[in-house]
Symmetry: C2
Subunit: 335 residues, 2 copies
Amino acid sequence: MEYKTIAFDVMGSDKGIPPALEAACQVLNEFNDLKIIFVGNQEEIKKYLKKLKYDNDRVEFFNTTEIINMTDSILDFRRKKDSSMTKAIELVNEDKANAVVTGGATAPYIAACHFIIKEIQGVDRPAFMPVIPTIVSNKVTLLLDVGANLECTPKDLKTFAIMAGEYSKLINKIEKPLIGLLNVGEEKSKGLELHRETYKLLEDSERINFFGNIEPRYVTSGFVDVVVTDGYTGNIALKAAEGMAKNLLNEIKSSVTKNLFRKLAALRLRKAFKEVAAKFDYKNHAGALLIGLNKIAFKSHGSSDKRSFYATLKMTYNAIVNNVVIRLKEALLNE
Amino acid sequence: MEYKTIAFDVMGSDKGIPPALEAACQVLNEFNDLKIIFVGNQEEIKKYLKKLKYDNDRVEFFNTTEIINMTDSILDFRRKKDSSMTKAIELVNEDKANAVVTGGATAPYIAACHFIIKEIQGVDRPAFMPVIPTIVSNKVTLLLDVGANLECTPKDLKTFAIMAGEYSKLINKIEKPLIGLLNVGEEKSKGLELHRETYKLLEDSERINFFGNIEPRYVTSGFVDVVVTDGYTGNIALKAAEGMAKNLLNEIKSSVTKNLFRKLAALRLRKAFKEVAAKFDYKNHAGALLIGLNKIAFKSHGSSDKRSFYATLKMTYNAIVNNVVIRLKEALLNE
């Protein structure tokens, strides 16, 4: 049996090692051709693993002595040569693993992947691509870039469109993914020079099923399968939407539990609230692919719990099974 | 008695003339030193006004034959010389009114105000400034620019900060308004060149109580009184947040009314939901000032109902009473 191997940096995320290991064991038990290399403090990892059930034969360890923290700067992966993040990336770069996963600091991760793994030929920069839940049941939208590169060219955005479109086909099983360009208005003439030039490129490409411009208010409406944008704009839009959702849900929670009478009524709606929460729950879509690299590199939220890591590891396994990098390369060659 | 006079373009908004007139009569009945000039199709306006109660002596009419539609392009105010929007702006420019209000198309309105009224000396461009509700009770945040100018300079953003700070003092009664710079991260080094240069300018100004960078997720958290940004970024952030709020609230509504059992429980929480809705309700803050012009020009949402127009007219009256333009000029001179 050919194993799919994930190099898993279990250090550096906010909630410590336990949720990472628990998630890993759950995924290992689900897929019997999956191998995981736990990268980090071997002693701590082994100590906690004793409490968990998993197939011993499909687990390896790679001991490291350093950790990249959330406060480290982007080039600290070079200074901290024995960090779990750097080593996990090196393992996949040396083909000792098929993919790397971390819950550690985003900016150093992107920098380290860029310098160690490097981009697919023809890709000038990778993009950070989270999966956005939408109000349409079982439909998600891929949004990229959300911050790997603040400034992008029209050509970059076209490359993002091709790669994310291919990913959407492969992983989300969308036959002809519809691609939107994030912009302040719908008309072709709207936005900055970047948008007008990108619009032309996307419109002219026979390969791309172009929806046109899409306003940020419709990203969660499920109109399109992929939304392309520069990392600055994507980051602004994502954080604005996340902040609103969080503030609004907190307000609702505090309002419906304000007194006993309301609490009792709210209890009866528990299932209703859960349904909405499940639809918008980013934990089910916690993994963001750093797309455009020569290897598969996933990032799980820094505040990942077991469920988030589980979702990310599953997405990573799926990406390996579907030969994502090879398929992206083919798609880019055919354009 | 010295009257405060509003030139009110009652044409061109989505819901027609009635809500505009109803709101106007309500505000007229509230403030006995307020005069309103109804600009638009006189016949239609008078016909509907017959149904309403108001002080006849404080109402004037200015008949116009054209309407600027939502689909008109930004310079159509020149082509449609007898449009209600253009005429209402001219009335205030000729000092026949103290302020102009419209629910019509935004882009032509901004263009017409810019060309007819012109900016305060020292202001290179006006900014479109909506009032954003926050989760802190009775606290709002002014966000500017959200689209009058897609691209801005650091000097523009500093001017926005001074003007909005002064407005916040005058109208929101904040003694020392805290000003944030919208950015993808909190650290001084984050963002684009625009942010780094603006950061320095705001930090160095003795007049500005600078909070530092603020991420879009915290705009509705009530941390600051004013958030400055370029029109492109402000528009993206605003639309992303609005879209998320709308989709989330719709989902909750449809989930809690899915069956009779849930409907009954939801009825008991009606007040709780209303409290949240009231807090986030843009209709209570429907008016956006086009700040930086030589006159007071407010824009109400294109889909304004009576309540939205009422809120906008009240904000406009308040701005006249507080001599907003004169105070902004003084503030800019003192910098």
